[in-house]
Symmetry: C2
Subunit: 128 residues, 2 copies
């Protein structure tokens, strides 16, 4: 059944159509992006920026435990991916703001239900 018939494909169906053989084969672009998002601090940085603009220092405090090195690295990756924008105001002392791009917002919208589920279930999952 063609997609054009306005019958929406389920995500599961679409995935098996997008990957007829093995899903996310090694080295494919999807796997690279997935690695960026699921990198140690990726998800936490992204949701910290949900619906708001944060400065470097604020972001650092919002993502508890992140080092400066990893914050810089994670932000650069996301900037290159087109998920985050960096805006530097030419003042002294420096003032730099980070926020999500439209693409970043799309992604975060998909991440949020996942995080809600995690927050709801985490405690009982680790109980044993």
């Amino acid at each position: 059944m063609p997609v054009s018939e306005s019958v929406r494909e389920s995500p599961a169906t679409e995935l098996s159509r997008l990957f007829p053989g093995v899903a996310f084969p090694a080295g494919c672009p999807s796997r690279v992006v997935l690695d960026h998002v699921t990198s140690k601090w990726g998800v936490l940085v992204l949701i910290a920026l949900a619906d708001r603009t944060l400065r470097w220092g604020e972001l650092r405090r919002a993502v508890e435990g992140i080092s400066e090195k990893m914050l810089a690295q994670t932000l650069k990756t996301f900037e290159a991916d087109g998920l985050v924008t960096r805006e530097a105001l030419p003042v002294i002392p420096p003032h730099v703001e980070y926020s999500l791009t439209p693409l970043g917002n799309e992604l975060v919208a998909l991440l949020q239900p996942l995080l809600v589920w995690t927050a709801r279930n985490a405690e009982s999952m680790l109980a044993r």
Copy 2:
């Protein structure tokens, strides 16, 4: 506005209610579960098991590039978390089947849209 009023909270709102201060503070149970899911092979193993039961060898082939060590480790973590069940048939040679628990199915249902989005956007994201 109380949740009980049948007005559904948005995921964003619920997250800020669940985490009044910093989201996913260091060491909290949610962060641990998030680390399991976003571990190097976590997502790939979970979606490989979406809607089907796989044997060890099949799983290894379905998750291209995974080593035996990491497959074993990832599966044990998910078993302990209650996301995956392991069923060993007492035959020789051994026959072991892995599948998702109801909890695992919930999680994968949230993962799928994320993976569809990734597959759709990855190529253009890495273009530059």
